[in-house]
């Protein structure tokens, strides 16, 4: 079955490589700001740690060291971002791709909620069909046969062989 899908749908793939992300000071400074906020957040959150016995090397000591290290790291990132901004080795995101990802995340969250109420087999088939649908799959084979086979395989491996209470 899977080889059938393969032959039909994976044929010509030739596509020009999309451009890589460009270097950007704004992105680098944004990343440094997030790291700085995280470092400050850790130092502030230390107060939530309630130690049964106060001591110099208590439970707050190591997070404090790491929080300070994050702040130093943020300064280093900001300096490097201003002087030598680097570019991630990734393709740029597309609007279509972002929309697909949001739909995929929504499906997964819905699946998690439904799994509490219904049996694994009942909720997993629509999840897989939904994932294939939002990423462009169409037809009975993509939306019915493939989800049924994959769910069956999951159930055999995890439910029957590994005795996981699905």
């Amino acid at each position: 079955m899977m080889s059938g899908i393969t032959e039909q749908e994976s044929a010509p793939e030739a596509e020009a490589a999309p451009p890589a992300l460009a270097a950007s000071r704004v992105r680098e400074l944004g990343a440094a700001a997030v790291v700085l906020a995280a470092g400050i957040g850790v130092l502030l959150a230390r107060s939530t740690i309630v130690a049964a016995h106060e001591s110099e090397l208590g439970p707050q000591w190591w997070p404090t060291v790491l929080g300070v290290a994050l702040i130093v790291g943020a300064v280093a990132l900001a300096t490097l971002g201003l002087t030598r901004p680097s570019a991630p080795e990734e393709e740029p995101a597309s609007g279509h791709g972002v929309a697909q990802l949001i739909a995929v995340l929504a499906l997964i969250v819905g699946y998690g909620a439904a799994w509490y109420q219904l049996h694994f087999l009942v909720v997993t088939v629509p999840l897989i069909a939904g994932l294939v649908f939002v990423t462009g799959g169409r037809g009975i084979r993509a939306l019915l046969v493939f989800p049924l086979l994959t769910t069956g395989l999951l159930y055999v491996i995890f439910g029957l062989l590994l005795q996981v209470p699905l």
Partner: protein
């Protein structure tokens, strides 16, 4: 000699062969499924094997242990998702090799060096178990802390050219390692009142999210309407050429050495050994610039190291009665129930059992190697699936696999959070490797440093020869390459100044 003959002779019962085969098949399967670890499979199998004779049961459990170390490389190489934590470092070069159309050579080479590592580990078990276990006993908090510092220097290597971002990611990993109960006092830290976080961030959820799910999310977010991105549709050549086989020798030797040492240290396993070996092989390589971009050397070193730890872990377990890793902890329980008491006296009272276990592991390695080479033929079909099917399969298998670790939906939710975090890190150029390294080593670093300081102050660390040697190695590991590069550039500059025409 008679112990060797007795030990091997005890395995001639055909049911032991059958048990071994079942173990190999189960181990390969669970290794290849992201989220399902060898520990979980051994724990599940332990329930069934307790009714068997000790050697039959140990055949199943040890075969699962060995085979899972081979199976976990397949998803690491093909879909950038470690099958078990031991194959984290396999993703560094395995996946780039697959993207270059060299998945065939990567898979075959991985299987070959894994078998080599396994055999080296077993030889250590047979010939050096007692002296090595003695050295392991000298590792107190100061020595363990120094070892962990040495491990943390790998963050620089794993970061590639993004050292600052890699170090920041590493610190975030160390911070994530502080979530849960304090290792010394037991006080709650950063658990947000969630009981699920009391024992820390679930490691499997973190690595599956950061590597597998983030990779899928990144591919989805880059997808363009109507465009079909290039798939990994070819395995490329199947068997490594003579020059490629030669290329594997040095990193495999380094990996075997690292795995042998790390394996005998209690609580240090294949995941740590793999990352250390990758970095050591990069330092020793003539082409360090290729590491992380699809280097066979970068694949061979960690795969050899993580399988070589098995012999060391079994050594520690049998010689000291202390579990060498989490799988061994489960197996130790089974052995005690069977009336086998691991510890120094085992080598005196039952030397034949040591040879029996070593032989089981050797045969399991040979069978798994054969199975790995056969199984790889079928991987082509999996690779040729259109991406949307692969995405659906990876997402659902990662979700169910992560759930299966503790039967807890919280782990699945956390895996997705790490998937989104991993995606954000990739888009901003932060490598995930150092974060995972921080998460693995953070609790060990903190607990041992604090213990060492509480016991003896800084003197405890500064007066231990082992700790000092390891700390010196750590400084060399970080400063050495930079000093070498600076000296090289100064030499070039001097040569240019002396001969401006040639320059």
């Amino acid at each position: 000699m008679s112990a060797l003959l007795d030990g091997v002779g005890a395995l001639l019962d055909p049911t032991i062969g059958l048990c071994l085969l079942i173990g190999v098949l189960l181990g390969t399967l669970v290794g290849a499924i992201p989220g399902v670890t060898a520990t979980m499979a051994v724990a599940l199998a332990a329930g069934f094997t307790l009714t068997l004779e000790p050697l039959q049961g140990l055949s199943v459990l040890l075969a699962i242990y060995v085979a899972a170390q081979f199976g976990d490389r397949v998803p690491a190489i093909l879909i950038n998702t470690p099958g078990t934590p031991a194959s984290i470092a396999t993703t560094f070069d395995g996946y780039p090799l697959a993207k270059q159309g060299r998945a065939g050579v990567a898979l075959t080479s991985s299987a070959l060096v894994s078998a080599f590592g396994s055999v080296v580990g077993i030889l250590i078990l047979i010939f050096a178990a007692q002296p090595l276990a003695g050295i392991a006993l000298q590792f107190g908090p100061a020595e363990m802390f120094a070892l962990v510092v040495f491990g943390l220097t790998m963050m620089v290597g794993v970061s590639g050219e993004k050292v600052a971002k890699g170090l920041v990611a590493g610190v975030v990993g160390l911070l994530l390692g502080t979530v849960g109960r304090d290792p010394i006092t037991g006080d709650q830290r950063f658990t947000l009142g969630l009981p699920e976080l009391s024992s820390g961030i679930p490691f499997i959820a973190a690595i599956v999210g950061l590597f597998g799910i983030a990779e899928v999310f990144n591919q989805i977010v880059c997808a363009r309407r109507g465009a079909r991105p290039a798939l990994i549709t070819q395995l490329g050549s199947w068997w490594p050429s003579r020059s490629e086989r030669r290329e594997l020798r040095r990193p495999a030797a380094i990996g075997a050495g690292v795995g042998a040492v790390v394996g005998v240290i209690p609580a240090a396993g294949g995941d740590i050994a793999g990352v250390i070996a990758w970095d050591q092989a990069r330092r020793a390589s003539k082409h360090p610039e290729k590491f992380g971009k699809g280097s066979l050397e970068g694949l061979a070193a960690p795969d050899t190291a993580s399988t070589a730890t098995m012999g060391g872990s079994v050594t520690t377990t049998l010689a000291l009665g202390v579990p060498g890793d989490s799988v061994m902890a489960v197996m130790l329980g089974s052995m005690i129930i069977w009336g086998l008491q691991p510890g120094p006296s085992l080598f005196v009272n039952s030397p034949d059992l040591v040879f029996s276990l070593a032989t089981i592991m050797l045969v399991a390695t040979a069978v798994t190697l054969g199975l790995s080479l056969l199984r790889l033929q079928g991987v082509v079909k999996l690779l040729a699936l259109p991406q949307r099917y692969l995405w659906a399969v990876i997402i659902t298998f990662c979700m169910v696999g992560t759930f299966a670790v503790q039967n807890n939906p919280f782990d699945v939710a956390l895996m997705l959070v790490f998937g989104v975090l991993g995606l954000g890190m990739r888009r901003f150029g932060f490598p995930a490797g150092p974060m995972v390294l921080g998460l693995i080593l953070g609790p060990l670093a903190e607990s041992n440093l604090r213990r060492a300081l509480l016991i003896d102050g800084a003197n405890g660390i500064l007066t231990s020869p082992i700790a000092l040697a390891l700390l010196a190695l750590s400084v060399l590991a970080v400063a050495g390459p930079r000093l070498r590069a600076a000296a090289r550039s100064r030499r070039r500059k001097t040569e240019r100044d002396r001969d401006p025409v040639a320059g």
